[in-house]
């Protein structure tokens, strides 16, 4: 049984990757064709031009210096923002989720803060924190924080009351309940939000760079915008996307580890 299951899994992986690849190829080809014959590549560029730009960046470098340097700067900003933001979101979300009084008092403020446009905030952050790393981290932070907070909050409220009661009876204090019941229960909520959150951290870093910076992928895209270089815009977006996918891959590995206690989806389970 183990062996045949293994084979089935391998077959399925081939199928999935095949379909993905086919989709990418279809997309690129149709983009190339429409941009050549139908639409104006001034706006839409085309894959070949984007490819050329990417090769150029990675071999000759960009006008701002080596592409790796730009990637590193943006990565540094977004990873810091992600780390701090998700930590704060988890901690505050769980605390407020478990404390009705605190959440009643704080909820409107947090919800209000969530509605403040991030680009306005980004420029406020530049004013408050200067043009350096901090203002970009702050922008990434704020985007990540809210994404994670709302999920951690709701996750903490959804915890099965029976499990908490049982732990209390077994002698757990508040901290232990948090650690052994609330956090594991809310884990799937938190992980779900983290999937979106790293993308947000990248966006935050880029928005921050748009507002003011001397390095980074956001500035690179901004420069491309300033010089009507559609290929450059798309090339920048592709680099960012690849980074996001790499982070996503790491996150999925973490998720598989943390949620390994779950029943696997059965073969006959309904698929809709």
């Amino acid at each position: 049984m183990v062996r045949s299951a293994e084979a089935a899994r391998r077959r399925r992986r081939v199928k999935v990757w095949g379909t993905r690849l086919a989709l990418v190829v279809v997309w690129l080809v149709s983009w190339e064709l429409t941009a050549t014959y139908l639409i104006d590549p001034f706006f839409y560029s085309k894959p070949s031009a984007v490819g050329v730009r990417l090769v150029e960046w990675f071999t000759a470098g960009t006008s701002q210096g080596s592409i790796w340097e730009q990637i590193l700067v943006t990565l540094q900003e977004s990873v810091s923002g992600f780390a701090v933001g998700s930590l704060a979101g988890i901690v505050l979300g769980i605390l407020l989720g478990r404390s009705p009084v605190l959440s009643d008092i704080c909820a409107p403020f947090i919800k209000a803060a969530n509605a403040v446009p991030r680009i306005v905030l980004a420029s406020l952050f530049v004013i408050w924190f200067g043009l350096g790393l901090t203002s970009k981290i702050a922008t990434a932070f704020i985007l990540v924080f809210f994404a994670v907070f709302f999920n951690a909050f709701q996750g903490a409220r959804e915890v099965d009351r029976n499990l908490i009661d049982n732990a209390r009876i077994l002698g757990a204090n508040r901290l232990q309940i948090l650690g052994t019941i609330v956090v594991p229960s809310a884990m799937s909520w938190i992980l779900a939000s983290l999937h979106a959150a790293f993308g947000f951290a990248l966006i935050g870093a880029v928005v921050g760079e748009f507002t003011g910076a001397d390095k980074g992928l956001g500035l690179l895209i901004n420069r491309a915008q300033g010089t009507y270089d559609a290929a450059g815009i798309y090339a920048g977006m592709i680099v960012i996307t690849v980074i996001a996918l790499a982070a996503e891959w790491l996150l999925t590995a973490l998720e598989d580890r943390l949620l390994k206690w779950r029943p696997a989806m059965s073969k006959t389970e309904i698929q809709i």
Binding site: N162, N166, I169, L170, T180
Partner: protein, 264 residues
């Protein structure tokens, strides 16, 4: 040791009104006493246990343990819920080790103690399984081990053995008695199995149909230590059985066809 005095418990009901689950319930359990509670389904047995455990406050009346009114979770309490409450993200042994860990044991000490208990409830070999990989009866036994590993001085059990086959149930009953006999623990044991109630308890309390109060209380004057399987065959047993059954039957019959209409 445990005392409920004129306790009433009300819940908001399905239709927006109030539902009275317990009315004017008075009952006491002494130190070292084993009390079995029987009563019609839905009468309020689980509710009574949750009041003693401190998880729910009474609407009226007082619940006290050792003379102290219950406000939080009393010390030394063990409560095995009617419904599943094992942690799905922990393996069998880690579920059982939870209590000792909470109470400050080191990881390895807790695990060692847990392993022993897993054996004792007949789950040797299943230590590494997660709850979703167990059968209904096995999950119940995990919960049992989880409760007993803490060596509680007050033990509340809500139909702990109902998912077990007769033989396993007998084993568990014997094990429970063996453990309890050495201690001064007060036990409240809810069951639907009158034989089980009599075989285990010092006293059997019959509850009225909901809102529940104590209808009657019967001393079980059987000698200890008892062998659960043998004691069933004795004439004393059969006599008590018949007596309690009469009392219980009346109540259960009342429940039949009754609506919730005037329950509030």
């Amino acid at each position: 040791m445990i005392e409920l005095r004129n306790v009433t418990k009300r819940f908001p009901s399905g239709s927006g009104g109030v539902h009275t689950a317990l009315r004017d319930l008075t009952m006491a359990v002494g130190r070292g006493e084993f009390v079995a509670v029987v009563g019609p389904t839905g009468c309020g047995k689980s509710t009574a246990l949750s009041l003693v455990s401190g998880l729910e406050p009474p609407s009226m009346g007082t619940v006290s343990i050792g003379g102290e009114p219950v406000t939080g979770i009393p010390d030394g309490i063990g409560y095995m819920f009617q419904s599943d409450a094992v942690m799905p993200w922990r393996s069998v042994v880690d579920n059982v080790a939870a209590g000792p860990r909470y109470r400050g044991a080191t990881r390895s000490a807790a695990r060692a103690e847990a392993r022993e208990w897993v054996q004792r409830v007949g789950l040797g070999g299943f230590e590494g399984y997660y709850p979703h990989q167990l059968s209904g009866g096995m999950r119940k036994r995990v919960a049992l081990a989880q409760t007993l590993v803490n060596a509680p001085s007050i033990l509340l059990m809500d139909e702990p053995f109902s998912a077990l086959d007769v033989q396993t149930r007998g084993l568990m009953q014997d094990e429970l008695l063996r453990l309890w006999s050495g201690t001064e623990a007060a036990v409240i044991f809810v069951t639907h199995d009158l034989e089980e109630a009599i075989a285990l308890a010092d006293r059997v309390v019959v509850m009225t149909t909901g809102p529940a109060t104590v209808k009657a209380s019967f001393e079980v004057a059987l000698e200890r230590p008892r062998d659960v399987e043998e004691v069933r065959m004795t004439p004393e047993f059969l006599a008590i059985y018949r007596e309690i059954w009469q009392s219980l039957k009346e109540e259960v019959e009342k429940t039949r066809g009754r609506g919730v209409g005037r329950v509030a």
